[in-house]
């Protein structure tokens, strides 16, 4: 059952050094506030999983908390490179970053297998690609009916998944809507689940495209209005495209990045209470 807790306490209890952590949200509903709390609490040696690492993981990687990244597309959407990600991969700064790299279809199916508590998923994928040569989480299976060889991807079961949603009720049932990406799968695949929400409402009204996660699959909810900024929460906030563009020069430079982190994240005042 999901307790309604402060972000500080929920992160402290649910996210541990060395965890495999998924923070999902496909451009929409990215749990930035939770990532910043992780940075403030200096939770480290993380293996991060995410289809599209985005600026949120650029920040965690640059903060030196990440030893491995499981992903399928690591860019600043619509802008360019993730410079902290690149610096870690290319130059090992601030620490080397191990990669487990997939295609989107493969990553999505890894979460599906995880949510289904199957050890693997099958897809017609990775054909002719060098991707499979660099990972041990892609293999193959032969169809017992047709003999066709297909790609198998290993299930991805994070220790903890963190997502942002629009609403929770007082019992901790959660609803998100709009682009809901792979969040249901990432949550159901995980050992522990933390959801930050825009607000608590008396009753969840079913929404078109709404995904409901009942309280008994969630460990904690934290109320963090605007917790997806600079991404957005449909119906509450809009995407701060200017921030994504402004991130490029900040992230290009190690000092500028560190200063940004110190000023905007690692200060007492930046913490959500």
């Amino acid at each position: 059952m999901a307790d309604i807790r402060s972000l500080h306490d929920a992160v402290a209890d649910l996210v541990h050094d060395g965890d495999t952590l998924a923070m999902e949200g496909f451009t929409h509903l990215i749990p930035y506030a939770a990532a910043h709390e992780i940075i403030r609490q200096d939770i480290t040696d993380l293996t991060l999983a995410r289809m599209t690492p985005d600026v949120i993981y650029d920040q965690l990687i640059g903060a030196g908390l990440v030893k491995k990244l499981i992903f399928s597309w690591g860019g600043n959407p619509g802008v360019g490179s993730l410079h902290r990600f690149r610096d870690a991969v290319e130059n090992g700064w601030p620490r080397p970053l191990e990669l487990d790299e997939h295609s989107h279809a493969g990553m999505a199916n890894r979460y599906v297998a995880g949510a289904s508590r199957l050890p693997f998923a099958v897809l017609r994928g990775y054909r002719g690609s060098d991707l499979a040569t660099r990972t041990d989480t892609v293999s193959s299976v032969t169809c017992p009916f047709t003999g066709e060889e297909l790609a198998a991807v290993a299930a991805l079961n994070p220790d903890v998944t963190v997502i942002h949603a629009q609403q929770a009720d007082r019992d901790g049932n959660v609803q998100l809507w709009g682009l809901t990406g792979v969040q249901k799968e990432a949550a159901l695949a995980a050992g522990r689940v933390l959801v930050t929400v825009e607000e608590i409402v008396d009753e969840l009204t079913p929404r078109p495209g709404g995904v409901v996660l009942p309280t008994w699959v969630i460990d904690a909810c934290a109320v963090v209005p605007g917790g997806a900024h600079p991404s957005y929460a449909s119906g509450y906030t809009v995407r701060d495209n200017a921030f994504y563009q402004a991130w490029d020069p900040i992230a290009r430079d190690r000092d500028a990045f560190t200063q940004w982190l110190d000023t905007n994240v690692r200060t007492e005042g930046a913490a959500v209470r």
Partner: protein, 257 residues
């Protein structure tokens, strides 16, 4: 037909990329140039084109160029929004999509794509690119693939440093042997002209030049000994309507940032 001389090489690329979508029912749209092309197509040659973004939107009708594949307007204007795993399994792998429209960092003569890592010379670490995204399965499963990217020897290379996404492999038959349902890349539209695979060899050859561009210019911007088709055509100049639509799209896109 009204034409104008006031257009850029990028506009030639974008207009021709949009034209390549005439007649398509559904297009899986990569972000960046492919998204510009697909949205322009919807405003010009193919108003009924169904735009599909990997964020899960089917039938998006944005009024401005989305900055990312997850912009809110893509969902709000869609016929349907589906979970990402469903998008890749039922819709893409399910063979529902006519055209996959891709960009690329590096492409070779068989239209194979690298978006993963590039060599930067001795003593230097590999340069890191964003990675595969949806491209390997888009290129495999869509009915056909269109590509759009700027022409330079940095992009059009003799040998890929890494094959992220298979185009035609090492020649005709490779796709079939790998059991890929779609026809693969049928055109690479650049700011200089259009390359298409020779049916006999699957090697990209120059089939069209944009107005004012020479074969030599294209060859100089290509990292392999580019062959030309028996007849190299010249693309129609952009019409005033095409240019107006393109510029309106871009202006609207800029407003959002």
């Amino acid at each position: 037909m009204t034409t104008t001389e006031d257009f850029t090489h990028d506009e030639l690329m974008e207009v021709n990329a949009a034209r390549a979508l005439a007649g398509a029912r559904t297009c899986f749209v990569g972000i960046g140039l492919p998204s510009t092309a697909a949205n322009l197509a919807r405003n010009t040659v193919n108003p009924k084109l169904v735009l599909i973004y990997e964020s899960g939107t089917i039938g998006s009708k944005p009024t401005r160029l989305p900055l990312s594949i997850g912009d809110g307007e893509l969902a709000e204007t869609a016929d349907a929004v589906v979970p990402v795993p469903e998008m890749f399994n039922y819709w893409l792998q399910g063979g529902r999509i006519d055209v996959g429209f891709l960009g690329a960092a590096q492409v070779d003569r068989f239209a194979n794509i690298n978006t993963t890592v590039v060599e930067r010379g001795p003593g230097k670490p590999e340069g890191r690119l964003p990675g595969a995204g949806g491209a390997p399965e888009i290129a495999s499963n869509c009915g056909k693939v269109l590509m759009v990217l700027r022409h330079s020897t940095r992009n059009f290379v003799r040998k890929l440093d890494f094959v992220t996404t298979l185009g035609h492999g090492s020649g005709p038959g490779d796709r079939k042997e790998l059991g890929m349902p779609g026809a693969g890349p049928v055109a690479v539209i650049t700011d200089l002209g259009i390359l298409r695979p020779d049916p006999a060899t699957a090697e990209l050859v120059l089939t069209e030049l944009h107005p004012g561009v020479t074969v030599e210019q294209v060859r100089a911007a290509t990292g392999w000994e580019l062959k030309t088709a028996d007849t190299v055509g010249v693309t129609e100049p952009p019409t005033a309507a095409e240019l107006a639509a393109l510029r309106a799209l871009k202006a609207a896109g800029r407003d959002q940032a």
